[in-house]
Symmetry: C2
Subunit: 525 residues, 2 copies
């Protein structure tokens, strides 16, 4: 291990120990912190002041609770960022092991250290924080950089796999697990059908975060990428509906046909409502950017605010927020990039990527941490069969659904593509966050949590690590997206930058009207 690596690793662990000392609880009001003398600080709210007895003026004080929340958030983000830097020191590792696995491993280590010193994980790690703050940036990143034309060319297949595929998985896994529960030897007879279906819904949703981190390294052909990726974004509608439905009926002694009908109605509300809000906010953002020519500094802000609003409003009405934000990004992207300045455009793209990247890093990292610090309930039979059924039903589902959809496709999926589709169905943090939101009235909630974590770790590690060699081995059609010649790239960009420079100065820019039109054609490359 060379000096630089040692330094980096040392820094990582130094930060970890710093965090341990910080304590996990967030006090409701800032009270007096650790001080060497009574604190006399500008602070909101009344403070206990020194008594009338003589005390000298403090020269050196500390007040940690006041800054605790922003400080801990900053430190966790820094730690995760250092981990990312650290991985690339060993180039060979990142070739074979996806970053997601490495991050989970680091998280497991940190979680282990925290557990051994009896620290609680930071109180910020709740499902609310995950759904409201960590997930939106990733989904915005996916939606914003989604290649639009290939996406809409495959929209039918995407929806087919997203809707029917997720239904197939949920019901298949749920019924199989219920059958397993009937076997006395496994000791899980108290789990009824609805609870099994609820759990199956949680673990059958393919996760965009996990898929993204793996498929980015494996350059599969675009059709495959679009379908897997579109599927994991759009299955959110189905997951939301099924989760609510099974959650609701888990409490009901009787399920009436009208409820099934209402469930179908709800699916359309959730799906179309999500898309509707997305389109609405997307067009509003596009319209707003028509007026931002005098306030160039805050142009990127509008993009982020509108996307986030689309997400929040969808969450407000309990419809598919992921679909809302993806549709918003898809809708506004081209209008916005024409309206805003070049610098704002670069900033938007880079910030979207940055936020998505750091959110993804934090999610996997915390996945590792919370895996250690959560109370588990292990059951060999249930968990092993969960893994088996998740794998089998995914494979079967892809097989059957592809047979049905292939006649309608211009480029049918061959067996190798189907393998990629099936094997690339990784589960991730969305399942993890969803299982934590299960009501406590469900008796075997701990078992479900443990089983979900097992499925996630299994798919992310096993499938995540092996997918690349397997894809290369069976020679799945690869993409040729990245193979522009250097010559083409240099000339594209040179023309683009030259046109941009000249267009900054209106009198000069007028002379280049034709050239500008040409540059827009060139921009396609």
């Amino acid at each position: 291990m060379d000096v630089t690596t040692a330094r980096v690793v040392l820094i990582i662990f130094a930060f970890s120990s710093l965090l341990h000392g910080s304590g996990g609880e967030i006090p409701p009001k800032p009270t007096g912190g650790v001080t060497l003398v009574p604190p006399v600080l500008p602070d909101d709210g009344p403070q206990a002041f020194p008594d009338a007895e003589k005390a000298n003026m403090p020269v050196f004080t500390m007040d940690y609770p006041r800054i605790q929340i922003p400080f801990e958030i900053t430190m966790w983000v820094l730690l995760a960022s250092f981990a990312k830097i650290g991985f690339h020191v060993y180039k060979k590792i990142t070739v074979w092991v996806p970053e997601s696995c490495l991050l989970i491993t680091i998280g497991l280590i940190v979680g282990g250290i925290m557990h051994s010193v009896h620290e609680e994980p930071p109180a910020v790690l709740t499902s609310n924080v995950f759904f409201l703050y960590m997930l939106p940036p990733i989904v915005l990143d996916s939606g914003y950089f989604m290649p639009t034309r290939p996406f809409f060319e495959n929209i039918g297949t995407v929806l087919w796999f997203a809707v029917v595929g997720t239904l197939w998985n949920s019901i298949g896994i749920g019924m199989s697990l219920f059958a397993i529960c009937q076997i006395e030897a496994f000791g899980v007879q108290d789990i009824n059908l609805q609870e099994n279906l609820l759990f199956a819904t949680i673990i059958s949703a393919v996760d965009p975060v996990a898929v993204l981190s793996v498929f980015e390294d494996v350059s599969v052909n675009e059709q495959l990428y679009i379908v897997v990726f579109g599927e994991c974004l759009f299955n959110d509608a189905v997951t939301v509906v099924l989760y609510n439905m099974f959650n609701f009926v888990a409490e009901m002694p009787v399920v009436e046909p009208v409820d099934v009908f209402l469930g179908v109605a709800r699916f359309f509300v959730v799906g179309l409502g999500g898309m509707g809000f997305g389109i609405l906010f997307g067009f509003t953002a596009a319209f707003t950017t028509r007026f931002t020519s005098k306030v160039r500094e805050i142009e990127p802000l509008f993009i982020f605010m509108y996307s986030y609003l689309a997400y929040l409003v969808a969450e407000l009405f309990a419809i598919s927020s992921i679909m809302a934000i993806v549709t918003c990004a898809l809708t506004m992207k081209y209008y916005v990039e024409e309206n805003v300045s070049q610098r704002s455009c670069t900033t938007i793209r880079h910030v979207v990527k940055m936020l998505g990247c750091i959110s993804e890093t934090l999610i996997f990292f915390f996945l590792g941490v919370v895996t250690i610090t959560t109370a588990h309930e292990w059951n060999w039979g249930y968990i092993l069969f969960t893994l088996l059924f998740a794998f089998v039903w995914r494979g079967l589902g892809v097989l059957v659904l592809t047979q049905i959809i292939n006649p309608f496709r211009t480029i049918p999926f061959n067996m190798k593509d189907q393998f990629g589709l099936a094997y690339g169905g990784l589960r991730g943090a969305i399942s993890f966050a969803l299982v934590f939101t299960l009501p406590d009235s469900i008796g075997r909630k701990q078992l479900f949590i443990t089983a979900t974590i097992a499925v996630i770790l299994f798919t992310v590690f096993l499938q995540g690590i092996s997918i690349r060699p397997l894809i290369e081995f069976i020679n799945v059609r690869r993409t040729n997206r990245n193979l522009d010649t250097i010559n083409v790239e240099v000339h594209c960009r040179l023309m683009e930058h030259t046109m941009f420079t000249c267009s900054q100065f209106p009198p000069v820019g007028v002379l280049f009207d034709e050239a500008i039109v040409h540059s827009q054609t060139v921009r396609e490359c």
Copy 2:
């Protein structure tokens, strides 16, 4: 009023009314929100589930408390951004009235509306939120774009005005007000000397936010700009020490000489400690960016994280956080801009500007809102004399201090520059936030709050609006910074972009080694 303006104004008021309906209180735990049927939502924590009696599955639900915090923050930011767009519709207004005044006015209007419907201002408007979340971006913006060479050439003058000037103002205003308090007619005899000095400290600090927003529009010569601006950044050290000192001694019956000595010692701890932390984090950031070549997406994040950490750690030890973050930005800027990619560099600059801009907008906006919604205590005598003394002591201070420092300056300040220095000493939101942190044990706290607001509004409106015509009238030396010829600019940028494009491709880039060195020289323009 044309259609577009009407639309924009309508949107602003529509948003305002939306916010009113949202309620100001933030409940501690998400409870069931407004629903048409019992809510069945993925939400953290146990929820009240429908009874065993039959209830159909909900098709349409709403859960506002869950998303309340991020939603309200997003809406306030959007509203402030719309206000900024709206101002530029009337071009003539922004020429004569600084944006700060317009924003305060909008804030006053919104505050008035909220007050009339008996709404509380959002619970997020606390001093903690201001100091921890709103102020750092602005100060980072100032520090990052501070022209370094002129700054260090004037460092002596800057420190002279920052330290001695602020002391002069605080003590002068404090003693004068104490003299006024002795006059029975004003009815403020209960305010003792220490409390007067404490209040004087709060209002004598020239505010970077206010000064920045005004001086950006008025292109004064660089010396003047640097000195005023540097002064308001570096007077923070003095303000912190004096505030703590007078806060402390306000409780003490007796002030011993040792306390004065400790006060001086504390000043050095605060000032040098702030700069020390800033330099430490600045160099750490510069060092970290050496290893970020493989993680380009998150490069900008390190800059923001390190600057913010410098600020937070300084706050932790109750030393000058403003000096810490400014020094950090000054230190790391050049190293970082050499180490990171061009896109990251653009992103960092643009995001720093964006965050600074939106923070500044929000601060003035909330200043207006909270002005209306706070309980006031008016006292004609005290407040009018406060305004008078703030003005007079500032003028006297500049006069006297300039006489002393001029012999040491290469470019002495003439009378017109001194006028600019004195008249440009605006107070702003830092005073506002500080006065709210006064302990409740101070009897006339409400009067102090009202007086501080009066001083801020007076300086921002009167001086802010009149400074531009006055500066033009008396013909203060202007800057020639913005007068590059178009020819020079076009060629600078074209060369820069061409070099960047070619440097992206290492084999090609090697051929341009000499040209790259040349471009760095060109980059100076």
